[in-house]
Structures are given as structure tokens and as C-alpha cells.
Amino acid sequence: MKFAILVNEGPYTHQASDTAYQFTKAVLAKGHEVFRVFFYHDGVNNATRLTTPPQDDRNIVNRWSKLAEEHNLDMVVCVAAAQRRGIVDEGEMKRNGKDATNLAPGFRISGLGQLIEAGIQADRLVVFGD
């Protein structure tokens, strides 16, 4: 079965990203396919590579990046939500005249159409938020 996952909250403040991560891992462990993980609202903050959590805490951003690398996951950050909250890749930096990028490995910035496409293509879409 094909799953799509929507993450609507950032790391640490809410449990949503943690639960979404554990759920995504379980989907893969069950042999299902993850069509896409889409990050929206403050969920885009899961994609900043500039976080430095204490060493004895989980690194939520790195954990997502690693999972993406291991399973070739498509992790998409909503461009409109990212622009509002300062999540920037090379293209966005140039387009909006910014002086830095902060998108973590494994994530890509794209439009909301990617969420709708995930809804169309996947058999199940699960929303994690607050």
C-alpha cells in the first residue's frame, strides 16, 4: 500500500514530528511504500540543517535526513510555508535575494501541488499536527 504523510508542526515544540517519524519508519518496516512526506505550516522547520539539540536529545532533523537517505524518501517542504518561515535552498536564496541557505539534506522545496498529488497517488494520507 502507498502512504503519504503530512507533518504540520515543527520539531521539539509538538510531538507531531516525532510521531510522524515513528509512523513513517513503521510504514516502511511493514513493507509498504512511502509516496511522499510533506511538510507544511511550522512543519517546514523540520527541514533546517541549523538546529543543534543537546547531545543527549534526539536530533529530529538529522533523523529525517537519515531516513530519507536510507529509504530514498521524497521529503517535500511547502515553498509558501517555507518562505514565511525562512527555510531556504539555493534556488530560493537567489530568487528572494537572501544571503544564506539552510535546507537540510534529503529535503526539497516545492509547491502545495505536491501535497495534492500525494493525496491523489497514495492509498492513504495521514496528517500529523497539533
Binding site: N8, Y40, H41, G113, L115, G119, I120, L125, V127, G129
Partner: protein
């Protein structure tokens, strides 16, 4: 991509206090642009999104009301509101900025069961 699915957006949050309602509306318009079968359900505090007469100059945030008008341009006409949620909040359909279909919670529940995708914000 010619597949059409039934997408229902379940709106349960009041506007302005958080961004959820506004960003949900952005997804609604994209879903319509993808020519999906889009409907909106308003339950709980979500009914406050539809209250007419928003004056948002003082809080410097874009008002909702104008966007509701745009829904029709996108052929989004299936707007369902939970009657109990309205009543509990001292509202009637006359207080709302756009025409909607007022249903019972059970009726909205049935519609939710029929959907392919439920998006809640």
C-alpha cells in the same frame, strides 16, 4: 494526472489566533486547481472562519472574507457546516459570509466516510 479524488478539508480551528485556517485555504485552492472533487466541512471553532464582518486592519492580518468569494471562481460549492457547532457558539447561517449547507454532525460524519482524502488542519 487525470485522476479525480474526493478531497474533504475539515476545518476545526478559529481564524487569526493561529495560521492553520489561512494556510488550509491555500491548500483548498490548489486542490481545486488540480481539478479534484473538493468539499469543505466546518466543525467546532472552524465555523468562526465563516463569520461575516471581519475587520482585520487592527491586527494587520489579511481578512478571510474576500477569499471565500474566490471559492466559487474555483467551482468549490460544497461547503458544509455543523449546525450544533454554530448553535453552541451563538451563530446562525445568517451570520456567515457565504451560503453554506447546514448539516448535523452525523450527516457530516457520513460525508467524511465517503471521501478519498481527509485533510485536517
Amino acid at each position: 494526472m487525470s485522476t479525480t479524488k474526493q478531497f474533504m478539508f475539515v476545518n476545526r480551528k478559529a481564524p487569526y489566533g493561529t495560521i492553520y485556517a489561512w494556510e488550509a485555504l491555500e491548500v483548498v485552492l490548489i486542490a481545486a486547481a488540480f481539478e479534484q472533487d473538493v468539499s469543505l466541512a466546518f466543525l467546532d471553532d472552524g465555523v468562526f472562519q465563516l463569520k461575516k464582518g471581519h475587520q482585520t486592519k487592527g491586527i494587520e492580518v489579511k481578512a478571510f472574507e474576500k477569499t471565500w468569494g474566490a471559492l466559487e471562481d474555483y467551482d468549490i460549492t460544497k461547503l458544509y457546516v455543523d449546525g450544533d457547532s454554530l448553535k453552541e457558539r451563538g451563530l446562525t447561517a445568517d451570520d456567515l459570509a457565504i451560503p453554506v449547507e447546514v448539516l448535523s454532525r452525523a450527516e457530516i460524519g457520513k460525508l467524511m466516510e465517503e471521501q478519498d482524502v481527509l485533510l485536517s488542519f
